[in-house]
Amino acid sequence: MKLTKSFNRSLWVFHLNTGSCNGCEIEIVATITPRYDPERFGIKLVGSPKHADVLLVTGPVTKKMAAKVRRVYEQVPDPKLVMCIGTCGQSGGVFYDSYNLDGPIDQVLPVDVYVPGCPPRPEAIIYGVVKAWEKLERLEAAQ
């Protein structure tokens, strides 16, 4: 993953809902309100995966969404990161034994950062993003 100079100043985030109960969505939106205001650091929600650096995935991956998640993941240009928000992505959460799940997110995508919590608090999400930042810096240092 080749990191460019302009990368570390801002992380553009694309939110992908793979069947979540919208609890995590409300938290994500709460994160980008002026109270926490990640925009100061250049973290911004964008409308298309083609502009994104980080893929925010929420919800357990349902069977119907599996193919679409892979396609959207491939449409995010390199260098990219995947953040899994909420326990649903990690273990299916409250829907853990549902017939319709296609396994937790890491069987579908290579995940970099997990943010547990149902739903995780905005501080947890921002802490997750900081972790992602650190990972990127580690990658850049290793480069």
Binding site: K50, A67, R71
Partner: protein
């Protein structure tokens, strides 16, 4: 007879060459900005295909918006005007000639009476 003289239009002037120089400068600036972008991407992958919220791109013929659906709103907005204007073009030769004779008669009255 100066080749590059600006066009005097009685009220202002229009100098196409100055305009062109400004455009070339703008294009150069835009090109430089574009050059700084990241241009390497893996060919043939999903990166080339459009983002349709994860769905597969439908068959080529269906994606292209055909001519008659463009300006649907414009035609709908002017429906009253078009409902009058389009039927006037009936396509019948005698209607066209009636228009021709009627306009000639109207002009005869106008020029005959007014001037």
């Amino acid at each position: 007879m100066d080749l590059t003289a600006p066009l005097l239009t009685g009220y202002g002037i229009w100098a196409p060459l100055v305009w062109l120089v400004a455009c070339v400068a703008a294009v150069i600036v835009v090109y430089l900005l574009w050059k700084t972008g990241e241009s390497s991407y893996k060919k043939g992958t999903e990166l080339e295909r459009p983002y349709l919220s994860g769905n597969v791109e439908p068959e080529k013929g269906a994606v292209h918006i055909r001519a008659s659906n463009l300006y649907w709103g414009f035609l709908q907005a002017l429906k009253g005007y078009y409902d009058v204007l389009v039927p006037v073009h009936t396509g019948v030769l005698t209607d066209y000639m009636i228009w021709f004779v009627a306009v000639t008669a109207l002009l005869l009255v106008i020029v005959g009476v007014l001037s």
